[in-house]
Symmetry: C2
Subunit: 253 residues, 2 copies
């Protein structure tokens, strides 16, 4: 099958802690850039969601770039595009924050909030009490965290899984997801990648380990939804080709 | 006095949470870039400490660029340069992280650690108990935070104040520091800026408020060590000129 139009996400999201600080997921966006560039060479129309600081393909016909910062903006942009256009494939290479900052306390303020939460109860502290503490004090975030304390407590809440929107909105598209782990066995890497692909209803997953990435040297395994190893690559360039070839020959059956 | 050699820091530091996430202080480095560019035009030799993602002056004779990521690397680089060279002035415009991540817990792990810490004590919880908890479990940070929980607790420890190294190592240099607050009165801004300049033994402080910064529009006040308003600027370009003029005419007396 020759693809006509695809959607690529690339780069890493940033979640604001306050007006001057963020939690940032590192990703150069290089892999997404290479996939987009190859796809454009093949005459495929590319919609590209990325961040300001990530590498981007040069401006050209057939390429539309959409900038986002955080997970919420990604979800909104992704939903809009998936509802408006039809894609042969979605390649979701963006490193998305699993968590977003909820509250920040100086250690003194945290001690106080904790004691207020625990008033008229006994030890041990329960997880539910701590969750209530977070939920209650959320949205009291100040504009800039004071540096007038020796320790900070930062609480973070899980973000909704943006990737799950993709097949919900467009069940017929082919979805390529990515799983990055750190220093695990190949077996564990494949197992975790397969579990994540199934949860997201994906068609392919590119499994990789941070220990095997250095500049353009990048060991990656492409698995299909049945768990077959479609191919193995040792550079970002090869990974890009591997993914596009798999999609063009439609490995899904 | 005509300056021969200055040291500029610019951009924002990033502190690693794990191998794929950081807490980043936002700063484009644009102001440092403008100061460096003007200084180079005046024939001043510039040593420039910055980050990979910040704006940088173009490569040229008289300019040396040193890249750092986190506060620790900044301290090391700054110490080395100050011990090796003599500077007429140090312009410290880098946004430096006040805190560095110490430990991260899932809410379940935090509940457990907290109860262990509180065993055989009574409520209320004390700040000292929480500090002990942080100090004990530090350095148990894992390579990548698991996303297998709904809430995270992140603890952060105060970083040493890098700016205080400058006059300790090189008491005769002129030090320009920056104070950025968010949405405060001019009076509070000046007070906080003066207090911070005195603490760091600075000669000038550029006081600014995030609410009055938008692109190149950038309201800034330059104060000297006696609290005199040396000048006021409304663009980054003007701020750069203001600082260099003040240093060249040696406002310190």
């Amino acid at each position: 099958m020759d693809m006509k139009r695809i959607l690529i996400t690339a780069g890493g999201t940033s979640e604001k802690i306050d007006q001057v600080r963020s939690i940032t997921n590192h990703s150069t966006g290089k892999l997404g850039y290479l996939i987009a560039t190859k796809a454009l060479e093949q005459g495929i129309q590319v919609d590209y969601i990325t961040t300001l600081s990530a590498s981007k393909p040069i401006t050209q016909e057939n390429l539309k770039i959409y900038l986002i910062e955080d997970t919420q903006q990604l979800a909104t942009q992704l939903t809009h595009l998936l509802e408006t256009n039809s894609y042969d494939a979605v390649i979701h290479s963006m490193a998305v924050s699993d968590f977003t900052p909820a509250t920040s306390y100086s250690i003194e303020a945290f001690t106080e909030a904790l004691n207020q939460q625990l008033a008229q109860t006994n030890l041990p502290v329960t997880t539910e009490q701590l969750i209530q503490l977070i939920e209650k004090s959320e949205a009291t975030n100040t504009s800039k965290i004071s540096s007038n304390t020796d320790y900070l407590f930062l609480t973070l809440k899980k973000n909704p899984k943006v990737i799950q929107l993709i097949k919900q909105i467009q069940p017929q598209t082919m979805l390529v997801s990515f799983k990055l782990l750190v220093d695990v066995s190949k077996e564990e890497l494949f197992n975790v990648a397969m579990t994540s692909m199934k949860k997201n209803n994906g068609d392919f997953v590119l499994a990789n380990d941070l220990q095997s990435i250095q500049g353009d040297q990048h060991l990656g395994y492409l698995l299909d939804h049945k768990g077959n190893l479609v191919g193995e690559a040792t550079t970002k360039e090869q990974i890009a080709s591997l993914i596009l070839t798999a999609l063009n020959t439609k490995g899904v059956d």
